[in-house]
Symmetry: C2
Subunit: 323 residues, 2 copies
């Protein structure tokens, strides 16, 4: 009765603290067209939804209208899949609980599902990327923070309340670094891009040796600077990645004891730092893994193209919505 | 075509390092009859299967024969659900990979499924106990070691290889206590019954105060002694539970960040130490939980009756076998 081609497209939307990007995606994961708005320009949610919709509607029209769209998937911080809501997102302009999926369904006329950005990335990886065909894997997103999406038996793990999978906030050092969440020692205080810059500042104070990083004002150092220095042979910069990779690998060894995934997929800028980060991660996993899991879980890097990844990840959720 | 009552019974079997206990269970979770053999008496697996079968067959006959049995569920250390095998179990007499489910299917003529003991306990709790009706919960078994069974979306988490859910071997103290698994600082080195006894010996050396526990030769102290002393008002014994509960609660707060369960169900002797252990666990969860999970996850004690729990847990798997 229905063929996939009747509705050959989905809409993907990634809501970030700075930009909201959305686009039309086909079943092979080609991002056919995108547009964006500045998230922070709209203090009222109604204005925001209308601003996005007024750009999204003509985009949809140019691909044949809403009858060609299977669904819309939205990735957003603090997104709750069960309710289609964004709940108390600290980096977005709208406070409280926002029924975002319902608002867009009404504005656009397309069934809409919503989840947090790391879960969207996991679904994207499973649909179009490195985790195709896998039923058990863990996606770790290494950005400003550390996020995660966990897939078990081919399904995203949402938990009883829709908020499962906050592995960036597992405690890796008791009474360790202060985290933005109010607690101390969270994984993301060490292994995010921000965490790498923080480690750089600590190392530069604690160690007397010369380093290319000393040419940059300490407060301005970002993880890209550490990578650039490491590539130039800077020992201190390389040690920063070693330190970061070890802590991440130790944590991953524990995550494997939870769901014994076929693979862990790393996503984000840090994951592209090559052997500087991947070697210490692998070594720390090997050094810390329980014997029955030894050598079984693959460590992979995301195959989603950087520029499109967020839209692509969210769009994958669009294939799963109920009509 | 088929009603539940056509095959009103299941067989549950718990294979422990010391005893193998098996019994007939009805759909309400009544253990109607049990028998047992000494696991260690049989160095050959064929002799073991025959010894168990020669006692199990008459038991089954007395309830109307194999045509009344829906299936058999087996809980065993290092049990692999996918393959029906026991793999490299250090505390059992048979080495390597043992196709136990197939051996029993042949000997008894009843479809048989097998999983590890903590997973069996989780299925038991979901079928007959404190987790009835729940789709997301974590079972933690506190015995000689610490085991776990994780349920997500109403399904046991087995992982890609059948060995998921070894939360007793998550590292809670880097370079902490030596664990039997060869690594250091595993949860079970602190929060098992053995871990409690170990803490007692450490505290008795490190602290000068009097304690009822000093009346017992240090190497003979077991967790029950600590409980008895705590009940009598012994401060040092109470502090041992406080220490144990805090480490367990810290770990549980991290587990919640993984699968956001509706409940964590504690099983085993330690869980019955009442407020001495439950209060510090609750406090440590509250002190360490990420804000979005605050106050959402129930901490429950198993409702399975002690004597029958292992057989009951395994038997629940018998309802799920394919004919």
């Amino acid at each position: 009765m229905v063929t996939g081609m009747e509705k050959p497209y989905v809409v993907g939307m990634d809501i970030g603290g700075t930009n909201t990007v959305f686009g039309i995606v086909d079943s092979r994961g080609n991002v056919l067209a995108t547009d964006s708005v500045k998230t922070q320009s709209f203090s009222k949610i109604e204005e925001y939804v209308e601003a996005v919709s007024s750009k999204l509607r003509p985009l949809i029209e140019s691909f044949g209208g809403v009858e060609k769209i299977k669904g819309m998937g939205v990735g957003a911080p603090n997104g709750n899949y069960y309710n289609g809501t964004i709940e108390f997102a600290p980096n977005l302009p709208w406070k409280g609980v926002i029924p975002l999926a319902a608002l867009f369904e009404e504005a656009i006329g397309v069934p809409t599902a919503l989840t947090n950005d790391a879960n969207a990335a996991a679904i994207g990886e499973m649909t179009y990327g490195a985790a195709r065909g896998m039923k058990d894997f863990i996606m770790i997103t290494l950005g400003t923070g550390v996020g995660s999406g966990i897939v078990v038996n081919g399904q995203l793990v949402y938990g009883h309340d829709g908020f499962a999978g906050e592995l960036g906030h597992v405690i890796v050092r008791r009474d360790g670094r202060q985290c933005g969440c109010g607690r101390k020692g969270c994984l993301e205080t060490y292994c995010s891009a921000t965490g790498v810059a923080r480690t750089a500042r600590e190392f530069l104070v604690a160690r007397p040796e010369p380093s290319l990083l000393r040419d940059i004002p300490a407060e301005e150092i970002v993880s890209k600077d550490v990578y650039d220095a490491a590539v130039k042979g800077d020992k201190l910069a390389q040690d920063i990645f070693e330190y970061t990779g070890r802590i991440l690998g130790e944590a991953l060894a524990d995550f494997i004891a939870f769901s014994s995934p076929e693979a862990i997929v790393l996503f984000g800028g840090l994951a592209k730092s090559g052997d500087y980060i991947m070697k210490p991660i692998r070594k720390a996993i090997d050094d810390n893994i329980l014997k029955i899991y030894e050598g079984k879980t693959k460590l992979l890097i995301s195959e989603l193209k950087d520029a499109d990844a967020a839209v692509l990840g969210a769009s994958a959720l669009g294939w799963e919505v109920r009509d």
